[in-house]
């Protein structure tokens, strides 16, 4: 890999935690689409979404943007930083 890499370019444990929280809501959203009156899943969805956004905020402050429209972007522009998701060794 070449290009911009910094020691803090990724935080793998935090990233994996974010990915897990994202997945919970991928699943919750699909379920709610066909069960729109399910209060229990709605509460799980909202609780998990709040935790997800807190983790994403923490990650973006430390490691740069996961969303290119991140409002607190710093210079030089870190969205381009490697590694990209397909370049990460998740099992190290």
């Amino acid at each position: 890999m070449t290009g911009r890499k910094r020691p803090d370019s990724i935080n793998l444990p935090l990233l994996l935690d974010i990915m897990a929280h994202n997945f919970v809501n991928v699943e919750a959203v699909l379920f709610l689409n066909t069960h729109p009156d399910c209060q229990e899943m709605l509460e799980l969805h909202n609780r998990n979404a709040e935790r997800y956004h807190r983790l994403v905020d923490e990650y973006q402050k430390k490691c740069g943007p996961l969303y290119s429209n991140y409002p607190d972007a710093t210079s030089p522009w870190r969205w381009i930083n490697e590694p990209w998701p397909w370049e990460i060794n998740y099992r190290r």
Partner: protein
């Protein structure tokens, strides 16, 4: 619209390079029952759905399938990146290399390029959702064939995750089909073809 988020839906990994396996797994990148086919099928069908649950479900599952397209792309990339040409030459990946090098290209495991004729998109919502149920089962079967082709534990984890998603999508589409039959009974006038 769509917005990219800079992570994968699942931490797709490989424990060793394997161009032979890459040449097989690519069928889920651009083959008939692959993730690109799934995504474009659902994202094409959603517009004319008569009930909101069906629009939402096709939108969200179509979006998730794009994330699976990225996961399969990651596996194929990792299986061949950095492998020297003289090693690739002796594998099933050689015909791909001759055309594209190590770049990902949406094709099936025989090298046929992706085409939208792999799927259908009907105004009749029962026809479309019934196709989607079959598509999820076919994709599940392909993941099982691919699981038979490797003993790499990291790849097995990833393919098993994707296989499981097909089962969940099948479940959701089954619920949509029931809602469509309910809608059809209540609103025969609004139902195309009835």
């Amino acid at each position: 619209m769509w917005e990219y988020v800079k992570f994968l839906e699942f931490p797709a990994d490989v424990t060793r390079k394997d161009p032979d396996l890459a040449a097989l797994i690519v069928t889920q990148f651009g083959g008939p029952d692959g993730e690109l086919s799934a995504s474009l099928r659902y994202l094409s069908q959603m517009y004319t759905m008569p009930i909101p649950e069906a629009k939402a479900t096709l939108n969200n599952i179509g979006t998730e399938e794009l994330a699976h397209f990225e996961i399969i792309g990651t596996l194929v990339y990792k299986l061949v990146s950095g492998v020297p040409a003289d090693v690739i030459k002796q594998t099933r990946f050689a015909p791909h290399y001759a055309k594209w090098g190590r770049a990902n290209f949406p094709e099936d495991s025989s090298g046929n390029p992706f085409m939208s004729a792999f799927f259908a998109s009907h105004e009749d919502p029962i026809a479309s959702i019934t196709e989607d149920l079959a598509a999820e089962q076919k994709a599940r079967a392909v993941y099982e064939y691919l699981l038979d082709m490797t003993d790499d534990p990291a790849i097995i984890d990833t393919l098993a995750f994707l296989r499981q998603r097909e089962i969940i999508h099948f479940q959701r589409f089954g619920e949509i089909l029931n809602l469509l039959y309910d809608f059809q009974e209540k609103h025969p006038d609004k139902y195309p073809g009835f």
